[in-house]
Symmetry: C2
Subunit: 321 residues, 2 copies
């Protein structure tokens, strides 16, 4: 197999943009395309490449799947509005919560999010839009991990040998499939994306559902959302590759006002990594760890215990499920 | 209530020993007494006080409940043999494992260990021995926590208003009930206990069962036993009050040889504390945390992820369940 993972320091971002824009324009011809924006850097870069190639013939949606971070959909719409790119916000929280009900197995959870997104919500939008082309932010790391069978990525059907034209009725274009996360950031910067987006920490496909061990409910999502907001506010700008809060299903003993409180535990993870293939825990100061733990036990109702992940990837992965 | 928790720096260990030995001798008269040695400092000090007071009229048992640390029963027997105190080792692993089968609730787990110990194994020994007096290593902290309803301690029936004479047919003597852990260590030192015992880190009543979230089985005990041995070997002599490894029931995603491995997570806890009432996580170096994590994922089959607890007590407790 050709080594498509060429070094990021060798990547000529302007040349990359010119080539990908030309390819998109050529593939779509005088047709229409559609894409979904998650708020992450991959789909943001794809949106700008597509917009450069197609202008108003690209329709971009952001879908509120109930699994996003605090205020995220609205903030992303505003950021793109400031860039002159219109985004359509669709509320699909009910569809996703219904699909996740009762599921505790991590793979089934990912599958429920994937299927609800493609078959139900986005598939419906695509069919309605009459667009034949779907732009997607698959990067090289997604392909590696799916081929190795580590995690189901929601965006790599083509690499798995699934023909999306047969399965869903459209063709997928993946302009970022030759580069990794650091390359995407470089291209994003060259495209003029604001710091807040192109330097955004990675967020997994199944979003907060990947940060909840056990069943994903509206109540548990609220705990995970609050905990992630605390962790992000404390670790923003710490220079780490990615950081997150994971809600455990295991309960542990705590004490509140002198009484036993069998409560929840939050696991904090913060990773140093170049490209997500390998990662080590960031050596945060104990002053900061103590502050994060204090805020989580004070600000997130029901949390009595906080841990910090000290494993490396491998054998750990960056997200918990 | 009288403040019985007088300061340890004011404790005159020799005077304390003289008074408690006299009290035990007076209470037991020309009768016989019995006690159980767990391997912890509390029961070790009680055994020496009882031996000073009663000589061969005190029978001391160590009960292998399947929940002890690696090689612990044999090592404790040898240490006391070296001190001239004979200890009887009783294998009751089957009884405890049977009693714990299928139990996941922490309180039920503690209750199963307590009831198997008192009603089944030790109660039987006491009745056979014809001893009317049971020496027990209850310390002041045990009383505090039980009265507050935080955890069921296996050794505080009297304080809870349960009359052990009615319930189990014998009378409990608690020579350490006025002092806390640091006081017990001071007395142990004065009694000539070897460093390895009087400075031993605390181990909970339900032993490894308190360090397993979910069901306690022979297989999961083996994981917890190996993990605790790794953590103890790395943290021995670090100056912390207590340290431990907790086996979680939650599974997390890992990678082994490029393949997805949905594996186990171990939580490491290491506490700075004076007397167990309040505690903060020890600020271990990341070099040491990394080494512990590496050894746990290498040496304990099935472990893919390791965390370090960063909460304080309160709202956390020192043990997980």
């Amino acid at each position: 197999m050709e080594d498509r993972g060429s070094r990021t320091e060798d990547l000529d971002a302007e040349d990359f943009i010119t080539r990908r824009v030309a390819e998109i324009a050529e593939a779509v011809g005088d047709g229409c395309a559609i894409n979904a924006l998650s708020g992450g850097v991959d789909s943001a870069v794809v949106t700008l490449l597509g917009h450069k190639a197609l202008g108003p013939r690209l329709k971009t949606y952001i879908i509120d799947n109930a699994l996003m971070r605090k205020d995220e959909p609205q903030e992303v719409v505003q950021m793109f509005k400031d860039l002159g790119v219109p985004i359509i916000l669709l509320d699909a929280r009910r569809e996703f919560l219904d699909a996740l009900k009762g599921i505790t197995d991590p793979e089934e959870k990912r599958e429920a999010v994937t299927q609800t997104f493609y078959k139900k919500v986005f598939g419906h939008l695509v069919r309605e839009s009459k667009a034949r082309y779907l732009l997607q932010g698959t990067i090289l790391t997604d392909v590696d991990e799916t081929v190795a069978g580590i995690k189901r990525q929601h965006n790599v059907f083509a690499q798995l040998g699934i023909d999306p034209e047969v399965s869903f009725g459209y063709k997928i274009l993946e302009p970022l499939v030759q580069i990794r996360k650091d390359g995407v950031r470089k291209v994003g910067k060259a495209l003029g994306l604001p710091e807040a987006i192109f330097n955004r920490i990675p967020f997994p496909g199944p979003a907060l559902a990947a940060r909840i061990i056990g069943e994903v409910t509206a109540e548990r999502l609220q705990v995970a959302r609050l905990a992630n907001a605390v962790v992000e506010s404390e670790l923003m700008g710490c220079g780490a590759f990615q950081y997150m809060a994971i809600l455990h299903e295991d309960r542990v003993t705590g004490i509140r006002e002198g009484k036993r409180d069998f409560g929840m535990q939050i696991e904090v993870r913060c990773w140093d990594s170049l490209d997500a293939r390998e990662a080590t825990p960031t050596r945060l100061s104990f002053d900061l760890l103590t502050k994060i733990s204090f805020r989580l036990t004070q600000e997130v109702p029901g949390v009595v215990s906080v841990t910090y992940n000290i494993s490396s990837k491998p054998p750990s992965t960056m997200e918990a499920i």
